[in-house]
């Protein structure tokens, strides 16, 4: 026999629950003709049916969780991808610093103003040092 699918388990749970409810309605409707013992016996059957329905829903939820694992794994991989993308923005900031420092450096060189070069060089060195120290801390 093939194992139950999640949908079949949900359906079975519904069947158990609805049967218990119908049994309860019958019991209350026939209250006058039932002895206390018969009443209690039916009540216990109802409780057992209701608990079985709950157990069936629990099993069905377990099956859905198992079925959803591949999709969940793919989505988790997307979450990691998003985090990497956000992380790259931080690295990109260093590239930006470096690029800005290079623009400044290029400006200093092309203007031929030797006195301005140290400022540009310091800026360039700082940007490069930040990248190296960050790469070092990643190791």
């Amino acid at each position: 026999m093939e194992p139950l699918s999640a949908d079949e388990a949900f359906e079975l749970g519904n069947l158990l629950r609805d049967t218990a409810v119908a049994l309860g309605e019958w019991r209350v409707g026939h209250q006058g003709s039932l002895t206390r013992r018969e009443w209690d016996e039916l009540d216990e059957r109802e409780i057992a049916l209701l608990n079985s329905a709950s157990a069936m829903y629990t099993a069905a939820i377990g099956l859905v969780l198992a079925d959803s694992e591949p999709a969940l794994a793919r989505l988790q991989s997307s979450v990691k991808h998003a985090k990497t993308a956000i992380g790259r923005i931080a690295v990109f900031k260093q590239a930006l610093d470096l690029a800005s420092a290079l623009i400044l450096f290029a400006g200093a060189i092309t203007s031929g103003n030797v006195a301005a070069l140290p400022v540009a060089v310091v800026s360039l060195e700082d940007a490069a040092a930040a990248i190296f120290s960050s790469a070092g801390s990643d190791d």
């Binding site: 949900f10 749970g13 519904n14 629950r17 218990a20 409810v21 309860g24 209350v28 002895t35 206390r36 009443w39 009540d43 216990e44 109802e46 409780i47 057992a48 608990n51 329905a53 709950s54 157990a55 829903y57 629990t58 069905a60 939820i61 859905v64 969780l65 079925d67 959803s68 999709a71 793919r74 989505l75 988790q76 997307s78 979450v79 991808h81 998003a82 985090k83 993308a85 790259r88 923005i89 931080a90 990109f92 900031k93 930006l96 610093d97 690029a99 800005s100 623009i103 400044l104 290029a106 400006g107 200093a108 092309t110 203007s111 031929g112 103003n113 006195a115 301005a116 400022v119 800026s123």
Partner: protein
Amino acid sequence: MSYSTNNARRFRWWARFLAHLLLATAISGCASFTEVRKFASLSGNAAGFDGITRDYVEAPERRKQYQPAKFYPDLESMKARREAQHASLDLLQQTLANYMHGLDALASGDMRVFDKSLVDVSASLNKASMLDANEKQAVGALSTLFARSATVWYREHEMKKLIGRSNEPLQDVIRAARRIVENGIVADLQVESALIARYYDNIMLAPDNPPEPVAMALAKEVRAEALSRADGRIRSARAYDNVLSGIAAGHQYLYDHRNAIGAIGHGETGPQFKSHINTLRTAYKTLLDVSR
């Protein structure tokens, strides 16, 4: 013409060229992700609502009061199975929430980080005595354009990729979560209502029970309160299902329009996407209201 004048002219030409290039990039990347952020942030908060799962796991313990002790071993074993599922259910919700928070972070970016860099460059520029005021302004503008256009472009590109590759698994995960909520948790809460009803019916209607009007009236009142609590749990679960439905529809819209992600929420797509956000906001508000 001196060497330095030639070089300065060449620098100005390059500056103009770069300015045009970067301006073009900036205009093409002049996107605002405000509406995407609103949707992602709202979805992240709503998807992470953990009251429904907690209720489901605690249900067997809660139901002990409505049944004889001989059923406790069954309830204990159900409780153990649900506790074992708790981590997987949390993972399902948290993955959805994490994804949405990730999308939110990508859509928002943190321009303050870049602005700090630009302030540093500005300070350096002010110290650079070889550039005249116009040249300083040009270099500063270039850096700003470079930072803003490149980050907007990068974020837009990454969001397109992320939404493109995530929509299918996201819809699958949401479908699974909705099946769990509607077919499993709501149905199970209806079992709880039936248990409560039969428990108080027994007190009031069982044969041979002595007729005690005061006790009957009290039992009737307590029955109504207990059923109302169970009904509140069912309404919470259904409200969470509506939240999931809103997230799925909103993300599908983002997926369908991902190639114009920067324009979502503006122009023609404005009212459509805003309506998705409003539906989701209403569903989340209802969830919070009924779960109080």
